[in-house]
Amino acid sequence: MCGTRAVVVGAGIVGAACARELALAGFAVTVVDRGGAASATTAHGEGNILLSDKGPGPELELAKLSRQLWPQVLAEIADRSASGAESVRAVEWEPKGGIVVATTAGGARALARFAAGQRAAGVRAEHLDAGQLAAIEPLLTRDHQAAVYYPDDAQVQPAAAATALLADALTFRCELRTGCDVLGAVTRGGRLIGLRTSTGLLEAELFVNAAGPWAGEVAARLGAPIDVRPRRGDVLVTTPLPPTVFHKVYDADYVGAVSSDDGGLQTSAVVESTRAGSVLLGSSRRRVGFDDRLRPEVLAAVATKALRLFPVLATASVMRAYGGFRPYVPDHLPVVGADPRLAGLWHAGGHEGAGIGLSLGTAQLLRALVLGRPAPIDTAPFQADRPAVLGQTSTQEDS
């Protein structure tokens, strides 16, 4: 592949991971982003690397692959150079484990079934009794019905993770262009051979659309529209606190919200600490297009649910909130593969709120597909040639 040119559109975590894999495979890579690197969706999430919220199926397989890759890839980057090691330190890799708590009897039964299915699919999911839970998460409410511990859930600082991947790619044949907006396609014989951009023409043999929630717009500009929509999530950040929350703790409703098709507001509690001492409180999911307005009532709903898990946080001060747009595909599966209509165009995205965690596995699948090599897991469920991606399913319109 030496010298084959590849353009990656989007310098978020998925674009950075794909650029790195392609550069390692010998491509000459150009990463373009209309903003700055790692500054949009990637900088507005919690940095989740989760197995706990995924039921058996292709997304769980991708999550398992990615979870296995994270420590390996970070070690590779750290070993490459002193500056690589420095960038990996900033990633704040923390395999802290997750705890899912059910607060109702019905929720407890559903959680037990869900965890049993996950165990059958190879996920470590350990039932905790009240005493065990109180020992490892002492400030959590005692008012709960069941809890499951997922030792493999982890967390990174997402912008730093994307930056580390991108910096590693740049040590190979890779170039980054920020402030570069993709305007349209240049095709020859039905094949994509170049991008018209705000900073000039970019020619290549291979193009990867990793534009996150804007992937639908980029694809439309290239004449091959895909149905990726923004779904907004808001996260609250407290002022730094003494150690209060030791794992990623969330209520069992979260699993339902993740896979929901409802366009209206959904909230469920996700509570965790960052290394700086702040507690992050999520999460909400709303389909509101690209509306970036702050909605105090959404934040109030998030706060209410978080306090149900950690009543002790009532006096903690929230100093900021951030909202991000997650790339949402109507059938809730990522898109990894070649565009069925426009040769030369590939898609890597649609991970909704799981893109940080799934980025490394996604990049590895893309590399295998591009090179025509066997992939570590089945890639068929992620192919772009499916009705949900090509906009052939009817779902409730965005409000």
Partner: protein, 494 residues
């Protein structure tokens, strides 16, 4: 009566004038301020329980202020909401007219029973004022280093002495009233150090002396303060500043040095002074989080941005007016004039009103004054020369200058947002209110001209003023549903 509901945020000179003018136009006014008393920083008074016998001792224009306060507190259409802060502004749905919904927290900030309320006014006047801008220097994080504004608040509001031996340093005419407040509170002010050399001050202030004369209120203040200082024999030095504070656990001494006009340090001119406090001010940063949250366009250069207004003080956001320091640092007389214009139009007053031309003239004179102020007290470009690699640029997150340099220079395509996340500068409890302009300026210098990002839908610019929570709010307060406006304790009269 126009029956219009006008919310005025900020009860300093601009907000008070806006409230009075909106009442004059016939509107119903809700006047909101985080403090317990009307007046803002300019007219700060000790709380009533101090029973100050002469609150006017530290005040200027006291009789006029006292009269205005009586008038507003006694007005049947004016509701005064003290200890109330705006924690969020919620813009309307696309296509809907009118100002944003105003989300408030009411009650003492240190109490546990603040309640949420929501106002949906017909017009919103923002008069949020400014806070001190302080440039970092080695040791500025030590206890005993105060912003000049904080020192003045303690002196005027609590009658507290920040120290016995104090140096006041920085740039701008605010150094003088601060020094005067300190003297009044009992401190010994060893020196007032204005960083700009006398020649720069003279060029700025005397280019068109008649403009200064027209701004009599301000000039009068200056003369008055200077008089007090002279009587107290406080040395006033130009072209000199504090470049380092030292001490074990708190300030014990400061190093001062002579500066060239670009604020580079003249080596060999360093002197050490034993102090127990130092007060620093390098001008003001307008409090722009609410205007930005309301959707108001800004003008100016990065690091020196203000709210853009038209001749009627209207911002670019529908139903939102702005007055006072957020539109330009021009002192109290200009703020009053702007407030009056803003309040009149926000209250639905007629553009043909007879008082308007005089108000506009006064406002325009204030703007000239602001321009002169900026000319006389520029921040010298060479100030980062006194930073060391270990000097903190963000005190909350303890980010030092070397870390900022590394993050900005080494990160591929580092957008402002990414550099912020990487260094954590600006992410602490002050949410970049203190370090924001400094970090923005330093990063821009280190990075060189970055290519402009193409704006993306739904992504607010990573500006230093984008702060979705204008005030910290406790989770418990956020989780409780808002109280209906009628249930609030009313503060008519008082």
């Amino acid at each position: 009566m126009t029956g219009r509901q006008v919310a005025v945020v900020g009860a300093g000179p601009a907000g008070l004038a806006a409230a009075r003018a909106a009442l004059g136009a016939g509107a119903e006014v809700t006047l909101i301020d985080a403090a317990r008393q009307l007046g803002g920083q300019y007219h700060r008074t000790p709380p009533e329980e101090y029973a100050a016998s002469r609150p006017e001792a530290l005040q200027h224009g006291w009789p006029a202020f006292a009269k205005l306060r009586r008038e507003l507190l006694g007005h049947p259409r004016c509701a005064w909401w003290p200890e109330t802060s705006v924690w969020a502004l919620e813009r309307r749905d696309p296509g809907q007219q009118g100002p944003p919904r105003v989300h408030l927290l009411r009650g003492p900030a240190d109490g546990s029973h603040r309640v949420r309320q929501i106002l949906e006014p017909d017009a919103l006047v923002l008069a949020c004022g400014a806070h001190d801008r302080v440039l970092p220097f080695p040791g500025w994080e030590l206890p005993g280093v105060f912003t000049a504004g904080a020192a003045q608040t303690l002196a005027k509001g609590e009658r507290l002495m920040v120290g016995e031996q104090v140096v006041v340093a920085g740039s701008g005419p605010f150094l003088l009233p601060v020094a005067a407040s300190l003297v009044e509170a009992g401190s010994r002010v060893l020196a007032v150090l204005e960083a700009n050399p006398a020649a720069v001050l003279a060029r700025g202030w005397s280019r068109k002396p008649w403009q200064l004369a027209a701004q009599l209120g301000k000039a009068g203040e200056l003369i008055d303060f200077t008089g007090q200082l002279v009587r107290g024999r406080v040395p006033f030095r130009t072209g000199r500043t504090v470049i380092e504070a030292r001490g074990a656990g708190r300030v014990e001494e400061v190093v001062t040095a002579r500066l060239r006009p670009d604020w580079s340090v003249v080596r060999g001119s360093e002197r050490t002074l034993a102090v127990d406090a130092v007060c620093v001010s390098h001008g003001f940063s307008p409090q722009l989080e609410l205007p930005v949250a309301a959707g108001c366009a800004l003008r100016g250069t990065p690091g020196a941005q203000f709210v853009q207004t038209d001749a009627r003080q209207r911002t670019t956001a529908d139903g939102v007016w702005a007055a006072g320091e957020i539109t330009g640092i021009a002192g109290a007389p200009a703020a009053r004039a702007e407030g009056a214009v803003a309040g009149w139009y926000a209250g639905g007053g007629s553009p043909a009103a007879r008082a308007l031309p005089a108000l506009r003239r006064s406002r325009d004179q204030g703007r000239d004054f602001a321009a002169r102020l900026a000319r006389a007290h520029p921040i010298g470009a060479a100030w980062p020369g006194w930073l060391g690699p270990r000097t903190l640029v963000c005190r909350c997150e303890e980010t030092d200058y070397a870390t900022l340099c590394r993050a900005v220079q080494e990160q591929p395509g580092a957008a402002a947002r990414t550099a912020k996340l990487a260094t954590r500068a600006g992410l602490g409890p002050c949410q970049a209110r203190v370090c924001g302009p400094t970090v923005t300026e330093l990063a821009a210098r280190l990075r060189g001209a970055a290519p402009d990002a193409v704006p993306a839908d739904g992504l607010p610019a990573a500006g230093p003023h984008h702060r979705p929570f204008a005030q910290p709010i406790r989770l418990g307060e956020l989780a409780r549903p808002p109280e209906p406006p009628d249930a609030a304790p009313e503060h008519h009269g008082a």
